[in-house]
């Protein structure tokens, strides 16, 4: 009954696929120590950071690309990537008026009008295009509270002590292949510091856009939440439609001190490639939060709809006693998309708690995997975890996979895990139809209900976008 609808759904185009004509300042293709020195010099970086990058690069050359994820892709030629591309502009803009109007138009087209956002929604945005951060809004308002929210390069210049102390403290240089690569060549990103006892009054947001061809985007985000602070952080991403694959290897580090609470939300909508699986972004991201202090909390929420391949495990290291971690995820794959995503919850401290809710939806020829680990170490008295990972299948050519690892070394731990896989119930659709709701709306209703637990975790501004995105991809696609 659903063939046409599935076809209609699978033939839908990516709506952020346009490019902008902005002049770029780029490094030559390829990766070697020279390029790293070039990037570092471009960014006017201190000596220690260059050393750090070179160390990471040397580590990387000794590492092997991981083969364990449940994804398939042709080998990546790391010498065929441009590691630095920046929109050409005279100097770092002081206010939005100085920003290249083309750039502003780009973000407006994406629905993130920086000017408008500044006026209306009260979300502070750091916009990153290709390799560099182009604009950060609301800086002054935040500065009054002592909050530092700026691009990573600016932080390196203005707050080197903080950067030096915390960079790599959560995701070490040699953590994994892509984290090492990122550490060597990262070009920009966002930096955020919330001082002791401050509750950040607005959502902080970074918007990533890959524009130039053949470039890789390697950004780095560092969030430091000092004692008793709170921040909610949003991240969004899009890229133009190109036939070749582009690499996005980001690192996000969150450091939460005593009683701090960080909420990190992502709506990932990188270009997923076309119907035949041509093009699209390889999204190989390392995201990790460290609950260093007692009673700290880190909460990850992600809505993953884009990317040809997603390889991403936002994790929490629950080191502080009574700290807690959360992971809420909706991952949608269609056509030839492949997603291998999940989380790691490492319980180290006493009384640590974690909660995992993962909802996968796969359609077309896509493969959607949940891979997660709950590890309770010996010292973690009274640790508690609840995991739920559900998969919804639409069409008979897609796959849904679950790889949960549960390692318990403490006998007072309570660990629960459950997973289900099914298609949308025909009886549910029938029930709706019987009450005068047409099939399309019924499916939208059911899918929304299915993903609700995760969507409700998103901040208002994002929840709307995410719901639209879900509705766009899923309405009427009955399995």
């Amino acid at each position: 009954m659903s063939k046409d609808i599935i076809e209609e759904f699978t033939s839908r185009e990516y709506e952020h696929g346009w490019t902008t004509n902005i002049e770029v300042d780029a490094a030559p293709k390829g990766l070697n120590e020279e390029i790293i020195r070039f990037i570092s010099a471009k960014k006017n970086e201190p000596e220690w950071l260059l050393e750090w990058r070179l160390k990471a690069y040397r580590q990387w050359t000794r590492m092997k690309e991981p083969t364990w994820p449940n994804v398939k892709y042709p080998p990546i030629d790391y010498q065929d990537i441009i590691y630095y591309a920046a929109p050409k502009q005279k100097a770092r803009p002081e206010s939005l008026e100085d920003v290249d109007p083309e750039l502003l138009k780009t973000f407006e087209k994406l629905g993130i009008s920086l000017v408008e956002q500044k006026r209306l929604t009260g979300v502070a945005v750091d916009a990153v295009i290709d390799s560099v951060s182009v604009a950060t809004t609301f800086k002054e308002t935040l500065a009054e509270l002592g909050i530092i929210f700026c691009s990573f390069s600016e932080a390196v210049q203005k707050h080197p002590d903080l950067v030096r102390k915390y960079m790599g403290s959560v995701v070490p240089v040699n953590d994994n292949y892509f984290a090492a690569l990122n550490s060597a060549v990262f070009t920009d990103g966002s930096f955020c510091y919330i001082p002791k006892g401050v509750r950040c009054p607005m959502e902080l947001s970074t918007y990533f856009r890959i524009n130039a061809a053949n470039t890789g985007q390697f950004e780095r985000t560092l969030i430091i939440a000092d004692e008793g602070s709170y921040v909610s952080y949003l991240e969004g991403c899009t890229a133009p439609m190109r036939d070749e694959h582009q690499l996005h290897a980001a690192v996000v580090e969150i450091y939460a001190m005593k009683n701090a609470h960080v909420k990190y939300s992502t709506v990932q909508n990188w270009y997923p490639g076309d119907k035949e699986g041509k093009g699209g972004i390889y999204n190989f991201v390392t995201k990790r939060g460290l609950c260093a202090g007692e009673h700290s909390k880190i909460s990850w929420t992600q809505v993953e709809t884009g990317s040809a391949i997603t390889w991403k495990y936002p994790s929490c290291i629950l080191k502080g006693d009574y700290s807690s971690g959360e992971f809420y995820s909706v991952a949608v794959t269609n056509n030839y998309q492949q997603a291998d995503t999940g989380t790691k919850m490492i319980h180290i401290g006493k009384g640590t708690r974690s909660r995992i809710v993962s909802k996968g939806i796969s359609a077309g020829h896509s493969q959607n995997s949940y891979r997660g680990q709950v590890h309770v170490l010996k010292r973690a008295e009274g640790a508690r975890n609840f995991s739920q990972c559900d998969s919804l299948l639409m069409g008979d050519k897609c796959g849904a996979h679950t790889f949960p690892y549960i390692d318990v070394e403490n006998n007072t731990a309570h660990i629960e895990h459950e997973a289900t896989t099914s298609k949308i119930g025909e009886d549910q659709i029938f029930y709706c139809q019987q009450r005068g709701i047409d099939e399309e709306s019924a499916v939208a209703l059911i899918v929304n209900g299915y993903a609700r637990e995760v969507l409700k975790q998103l901040p208002m501004e994002f929840a709307v976008e995410a719901q639209k995105l879900l509705a766009l991809t899923l309405e009427g696609s009955v399995g």
Binding site: N411, E416, K423
Partner: protein, 426 residues
């Protein structure tokens, strides 16, 4: 699966003396398997399948030099009371009972059967000799085991018990092939035991073929085998409307690895897998199960429970595969664990891999401890703490025992488990 080649010379592990050498028609298989094993070696600690179970290392460290057998094995010690069964017993590699003569049923040493061409179509076809290094080693090294054929339409009233006793330090490999014809039924119980506390290494591979409308009940009871390292691989291929019940009870041993795989290559199949691992001391038990739904409309259900005390470690890995055209599959899996001591560990990985959309699949797993409220409830009614504890643990473990279809076996297991639980040292 990537295998880390390591420096374990397969000949050191006794490859050169297997029964397969005497069967000319299997010479190619032997050579290929040998080459393969030499190439990949035994799995190292980085191998995903053996990540938590260092079987290779345990075997490398195993010393089998100075332990004499007792020479006297009393088979009655291992009998299941009231069970009217056909028993064949092996002490080390030697059959110490006469071969059963059940009408219509063929039970023969596998070597003899294969030499006559019987079972040659199934041997090493159900279990892929190259899928696992220990299976490969078994293929090269097995010296005893049975070919069991239940002809079409035949229902075996008496279960067949194969008793594997290790006396003293031994290293041995056994291979069984069970072929159950159309509309036939049979029950095979494999029991493992070792005398004394000495080290031994037993590698058993059992292949099963269950034809249309047939039924096979398989038991593995690993109870009285202190010091034993065991690798036990079972794979059963099921045809239309067949049914397989598998039971694995691990109550002892030093290091036990059970690989159970059911391939549901037919419609309307039903498979049930029950397992209980009740571990103490430094026992390490690992259950890897795979249910492969190849055709539509089948049902599988799996329940594994574990209780770990002292420094023991339980590992569970359950995979459910649903192939692209296996629509209308219902597959369920549950793994529940209790840790009793601060040094006990459990690693569990329930895994679903699904390529068909019209399915209902679920898995669940929990790890916890005895419910203090329930304990208090019982104690408030005058039941001593230790008894209350045993009752609660039995209630937890009993679910797998209740599923046993043969009453005498059920009683035997119930008694053994509750005895263990009542002993305060557990």
């Amino acid at each position: 699966m990537t295998t880390n080649a390591i420096d374990t010379n397969p000949t050191l592990l006794g490859v050169s003396s297997g029964a397969i050498d005497s069967i000319p028609s299997l010479a190619t298989l032997r050579d290929e398997t040998f080459r393969h094993l030499q190439e990949v070696g035994f799995p190292g600690p980085k191998n995903e399948e053996y990540k938590y179970t260092p079987l290779t290392r345990a075997l490398e460290k195993l010393s089998l030099d100075d332990q004499e057998g007792t020479g006297t094995v009393n088979l009655a010690d291992y009998a299941i009371p009231d069970l009217d069964a056909t028993v064949v017993a092996f002490v080390n590699e030697k059959c110490v009972t006469s071969l059963p003569e059940t009408e219509g049923l063929i039970v023969k040493p596998l070597q003899e059967a294969l030499s006559e061409g019987k079972g040659i179509n199934h041997f090493a076809k159900i279990v892929d000799a190259q899928s696992d290094a220990f299976v490969a080693w078994n293929t090269l090294a097995w010296t005893y085991g049975f070919y069991i054929e239940v002809p079409a339409g035949k229902t075996l009233t008496k279960p067949l018990v194969i008793l594997h006793v290790s006396d003293g330090a031994v290293r041995k490999a056994a291979r069984n092939l069970i072929v159950v014809g159309r509309n036939a039924q049979c029950t095979v119980i494999q029991m493992f035991a070792s005398t004394g506390k000495g080290a031994s290494y037993v590698n058993v591979v059992t292949e099963g073929f269950v034809d249309e409308n047939a039924r096979l009940d398989l038991y593995a009871i690993q109870a009285d085998m202190p010091g034993q390292i065991q690798f036990n691989q079972t794979r059963v291929l099921q045809k239309d409307n067949s049914r397989v019940n598998s039971y694995a009870f691990t109550l002892g041993g030093k290091l036990v690895r059970n690989n159970l795989a059911l391939a549901l290559d037919g419609q309307g199949c039903e498979s049930h897998m029950y397992g209980l691992y009740l571990l103490n001391g430094d026992t390490h038990a690992d259950n890897h199960t795979v249910v492969d739904h190849i055709k539509p409309n089948s049902f599988s259900n799996e329940l594994y429970k574990g209780i770990m005390d002292d420094t023991s470690r339980g590992v569970f890995n359950g995979k459910i595969y649903v192939r692209p055209n296996a629509q209308k599959t219902n597959a369920f899996q549950s793994n529940r664990n209790i840790l009793l001591s601060t040094d006990a560990k459990v690693n569990t990985k329930p895994q679903l891999e699904i390529w068909a959309d019209d399915v209902k699949c679920s898995h669940g797993c929990t790890t916890g401890q005895i419910d203090e409220d329930a304990l208090f409830y019982l104690m408030a009614r005058g039941i001593p703490r230790s008894t209350a504890r045993a009752m609660l643990l039995y209630a937890f473990a009993g679910e797998t025992i209740d599923a046993v279809s043969l009453p005498p076996v059920q009683q035997y297991l119930a008694q053994r488990v509750s005895q263990r639980l009542q002993r305060n040292d557990f």
